[in-house]
């Protein structure tokens, strides 16, 4: 097997300082994501999905445990190293799109490349290339306020992909999209995953979106609860996911 792109080992996250009201949001979480894998994270609201993503994405600090991304232990890094690491190795698609409204679509997408110091000559082809893949080349000179929610989502995706990061982290990217747009975004992600071999970690509530993944981790109350692999068609995987979610519902009722 190839080397894991993400290696999470006994990860804990406690919110709140000592002597205060503490909340144990992640409890001893361990898992790997192989290079080129497309993994989904599911679970009920408040389960700790966003927390997990924030810690992995280096935006938040873990309380204990280690995280290695592409062979680098990020739990030991300084703030500026983390920033560099984010800009080089990771691509984000946030729950809210987080585009900079004072930049055009083009400039938004180009920003990670500019930050990396890519020369102007190479920026335009790369930007146009992702824009084309995501079908946003027509709105490239517009400002975020003048484009639709789905288009914004795709711009955010384009920005996450343009510098070809080792891993893409996405938090409910389809949350604000209609089923058609959701489908097209998921297909883009699959395309990236298959053609460019980009590893993807995706948090979602939507079983249909989740069915595009190769593997799904379920978490509940901050703990890994179940893991399922896709061995069959997408449709039957979809059904499988629905079954697990139903299981959740009944177990919650029993409490």
């Amino acid at each position: 097997m190839s080397q894991p792109v993400l290696h999470v080992n006994h990860l804990n996250k406690v919110y709140g300082k000592k002597n205060e009201n503490q909340f144990h949001a992640l409890k001893d979480v361990s898992f790997d994501i192989e290079s080129g894998e497309f993994v989904g994270i599911m679970g009920p609201s408040g389960a700790g999905k966003t927390t997990l993503l924030n810690v992995i994405s280096t935006l938040d600090q873990s309380s204990s445990g280690t995280i290695e991304i592409a062979g680098t232990n990020i739990t030991a890094m300084k703030q500026n190293q983390l920033a560099d690491f984010r800009s080089e190795q990771l691509g984000f698609i946030f729950q809210d799109f987080n585009l900079l409204e004072n930049l055009t679509v083009y400039e938004n997408i180009a920003l990670p490349l500019s930050l990396k110091g890519v020369s102007t000559r190479h920026i335009k082809p790369s930007v146009m290339n992702v824009a084309q893949k995501l079908g946003i080349e027509k709105i490239i000179d517009k400002y975020p306020i003048t484009i639709s929610g789905g288009q914004k989502q795709r711009v955010a995706a384009a920005r996450a992909l343009v510098h070809e990061p080792a891993m893409i982290l996405a938090d409910e990217p389809t949350g604000a999209l209609d089923s058609k747009n959701a489908k097209s975004l998921m297909e883009t992600l699959v395309h990236l995953n298959e053609k460019l071999n980009t590893s993807i970690m995706l948090v979602t509530h939507d079983p249909l979106s989740a069915s595009y993944c190769q593997r799904i981790l379920f978490i509940q109350d901050g703990q890994l609860y179940k893991e399922i692999h896709r061995n069959t068609t997408r449709n039957s995987f979809h059904q499988e996911i629905l079954d697990v979610l139903a299981e959740f519902a009944t177990s919650n009722e029993l409490e």
Partner: protein, 618 residues
């Protein structure tokens, strides 16, 4: 119900409202400070060297009023920025448009009234503080200045109430006119300024023409008089705003279009920040440029008048002090001064005349001021004329030759052997033979030049008192003015002190307002900037790079108006060239002081802004 909601959300946004109150308060305080001078006619006319000073103040009121209107409209529109999202929300929940409009009107007006009360109190405080400080520091006693001046309070109140009524109406109208959606998404909306090359070209051309006319009017102020002042203000102000309105958007667009520049590092974001609120930005920069021009101008003029005292008091005298019949104390005082040139001459005094010994004069001739009809500082020159005759006289006298002009001014002005010293007794210059014939005691007079006249003033004052006593002895009457350089200096200083006071007082006021406008611009937009910076940090921008972006953005913000303002000031000093001998003397002092303070202010602002917008982390 809606009113209650509004009040509670106002409480939540307390910080933002504080920023707004601060901006408005300073503007009101400054307006009031200006009015304490502009309305105090008795004081102004009694203390000014400028003949049509009241007229200048009328124009000044107009200019300040104009700038203030611009600024207040800009500042109160901040309320809209704060509130529109919430108002939009109320409207989606079913609040009536009329109600929202009403709410906006009263809110704006209410805030206006609060700031009016606070502003006048602050204005009175500042007037007292600054006037006391100036009088102490400059050793002036400016009589008749009143920090609490009723009619100025009244003018300020009326002006601002009208202004706030207007802005309230505009605010209400604008909120009422917008669609709910527009309100909800207001925060992300870009102020678009359409720029086309042709429009920019004509805009800039027009601005240059306007400013050119204004400069011409200032340079030719002596001929144009009051018309020149009016002409300069109605051309330069709109010209300045137009420069920013037409040129800046174009300039930034060009910068953005330069791929190499825009796509390097974080540049695209820095430029995007500047472009994002272009319309507001041009207003702010225009206002700041005008305030710098006025403030720095008033200050520089004031300080120029101050230096002018010394220059003008050297108009007539090439030497700094003449000591007749020096006493022990005089000699001691002289020793303690930094003397660069010293001459001693002898003379005898009888009832018929004062007789100077020619040889001593010719052997060691003094410097005099060359005669010159222009209003500029005359050149010093050493007296070289020969004196072949045996006897010369200052006054017309049948028995003696008339003294050549330079010797005349050496004796009567430099040595001060004139009516001031000896009354109507005639003054002669005679050769040794004649001198010896005169039956009287030898007297000495010392003529000295010092390195720094102002530094030696205490000693020179003592000497001058002694000279006045000698003059009293000869003239037989009380003498106040010995006609020396020192007495000229004192007279000029008391004449100019009022003007200097006004210049510096207003200079400080305008510059304070400038600082508050810049600060307001920054603080009012900081709230909206926070999430942009945190976003950048999330996608992996180093903090140092974010800081660099802030430094650059604010640098451009500070730079443009300072440059424009500085050019205005430098040309504007021409206005004083017919009343100040060398208006540009030491002009670098106030200008460099200004730039040092401005630079510090820049650093402080950057620091503050960084603290607000940059994400906190360990």
């Amino acid at each position: 119900m809606l009113v209650k909601l509004t009040l509670s959300s106002m409480r939540k946004m307390f910080k933002d409202y504080l920023v707004l109150l601060f901006g408005l308060t300073i503007s009101i305080a400054i307006f009031y400070m200006f009015q304490t001078l502009a309305q105090n006619k008795a004081f102004v006319e009694a203390n000014s060297l400028i003949s049509s000073i009241m007229f200048v103040f009328h124009v000044g009121s107009f200019i300040l009023g104009f700038i203030t209107i611009f600024y207040i409209f800009y500042a109160t529109s901040f309320i809209q920025t704060l509130r529109q999202k919430e108002m939009g929300m109320y409207m989606t929940l079913g609040a009536k448009k009329g109600k929202i409009t009403q709410l906006m009107f009263f809110e704006t007006f209410f805030i206006g009234i609060i700031s009016l009360v606070v502003g006048i109190i602050v204005g009175v405080g500042l007037s007292i503080g600054i006037s006391d400080l100036l009088m102490q520091q400059l050793d002036f006693s400016v009589e008749g200045f009143k920090a609490v001046y009723t009619s100025s309070i009244l003018t300020t109140v009326i002006f601002y109430i009208i202004l706030f009524l207007l802005t309230s109406i505009v605010n209400a109208w604008q909120i009422g006119r917008r669609s709910v959606l527009h309100l909800l998404h207001a925060g992300q909306k870009q102020d678009f300024v359409k720029v086309s090359g042709v429009k920019t070209f004509f805009g800039v051309l027009f601005a240059i023409i306007l400013i050119g006319i204004g400069y011409f009017a200032m340079i030719e102020i002596e001929k144009l008089q009051q018309l020149g002042v009016i002409l300069a203000s109605v051309t330069i102000i709109p010209g300045t705003y137009l420069v920013f309105i037409s040129f800046l958007p174009y300039f930034l667009k060009k910068l953005k279009q330069n791929r190499q520049l825009n796509e390097k590092g974080i540049n695209s974001f820095t430029l995007g920040q500047l472009r994002f609120r272009m319309l507001n930005l041009t207003k702010v920069l225009g206002t700041v440029a005008m305030l710098i021009a006025l403030g720095l101008g008033a200050m520089t003029a004031g300080i120029s008048f101050y230096h002018n005292i010394e220059i003008q008091s050297s108009m007539f005298h090439a030497n700094d002090v003449a000591i007749h019949q020096p006493t022990e104390q005089d000699l001691e005082a002289l020793k303690s001064m930094d003397v660069t040139e010293q001459h001693t001459y002898t003379y005898k005094v009888t009832d018929d005349g004062i007789y100077f010994l020619k040889n001593k004069l010719i052997e060691d001739p003094p410097l005099v001021q060359a005669y010159n009809a222009q209003f500029e500082l005359p050149k010093k020159q050493r007296v070289e004329d020969k004196l072949p005759a045996s006897s010369y006289s200052l006054q017309e006298d049948a028995g003696s030759e008339e003294l050549p002009e330079n010797w005349w001014s050496a004796i009567s002005t430099e040595i001060n052997a004139s009516y001031n010293m000896f009354g109507s007794t005639s003054v002669y210059v005679v050769d040794q033979a004649k001198y010896d014939e005169i039956d009287a005691n030898d007297n000495e007079v010392i003529l000295a030049r010092v390195e720094d006249f102002k530094a030696d003033i205490p000693q020179i004052e003592k000497i001058d008192k002694g000279q006045a006593q000698i003059a009293e002895k000869y003239r037989g009457e009380p003498v106040e003015n010995t006609g020396s350089k020192f007495t000229n200096y004192v007279a000029l200083k008391s004449l100019a002190s009022g003007t200097i006071f006004m210049g510096i007082f207003l200079g400080i006021a305008f510059l304070m307002m400038m600082a508050s406008v810049l600060m307001f611009k920054l603080l009012s937009s900081a709230g909206a900037d926070i999430h942009r910076y945190s976003m950048l940090r999330k996608i992996g921008v180093r903090k140092s790079l974010l800081k660099k972006s802030i430094y650059r953005e604010l640098f451009l913000l500070f730079l443009f108006p300072a440059l424009v303002g500085l050019v205005h000031v430098i040309v504007g000093m021409q206005m004083f060239s017919f009343i100040i001998i060398e208006p540009y003397t030491k002009i670098w002092i106030p200008i460099s002081i200004f730039f040092v303070i401005y630079g510090l202010y820049y650093l402080i602002t950057v620091h503050l802004y960084k603290r607000i917008v940059l994400p906190k982390e360990k």
